[in-house]
Symmetry: C2
Subunit: 113 residues, 2 copies
């Protein structure tokens, strides 16, 4: 039933926008939204992040924090205390996601009660 013609493409005005697609795949990656949301609420230590997100494993949280740091959404600071204390904070790029998270929250509460 489903065949793919070579070089078939939809009209240009229907094509998914690559910039949009990259953005939603980045922030939609499993646990990313939760991490960003909890950082916005003021958590900034690993333990607080982990305890604020039920179900996330240490391994996946570490992985996702690295992804978000590489994407420029969070920064990681190591304080030279004993033992060293690590904190995570949203960058300007990360804080600029506030309207996105608000829109998702509004939609969620309206339609997925």
């Amino acid at each position: 039933m489903i065949s793919r013609k070579k070089n078939s493409t939809a009209p240009p005005d229907l094509q998914v926008c690559e910039t949009f697609h990259a953005a939603i795949e980045l922030i939609g990656k499993r646990w990313s939204g939760a991490v960003i949301s909890v950082l916005m609420k003021g958590a900034n230590r690993f333990k607080d992040l982990r305890d604020s997100i039920p179900g996330v494993s240490d391994r996946l949280l570490i992985e996702r924090l690295k992804d978000l740091e590489e994407a420029g959404i969070i920064s990681r600071t190591v304080l030279p205390s004993r033992p060293p204390q690590v904190t995570y904070n949203l960058t300007d790029k990360g804080r600029a996601l506030t309207p996105v998270l608000e829109a998702i929250s509004t939609w969620g509460h309206a339609w997925n009660k």
Copy 2:
């Protein structure tokens, strides 16, 4: 370095909101955002969806369309033609995602050029 105390929890005001989390995990699932975006642009046949989203496989597109239908975000209509024609459309709940997609697009274009 990382130890998890039994029953440790973050202060209630830091906890991730479950409704928000479920919403971002749903629309952030791989290809979901692209599919919703392309439906918003007016595509409604399987072929058009597939051709509008470079890189998606038939199998994953079928799977994601089923997920979105189960979540009440899209509807699937089978027209009694020969051969039967299947179309996909956003429901009210799906169209209500417009502000979410707009916010993501705005952020993407501002920060991921």
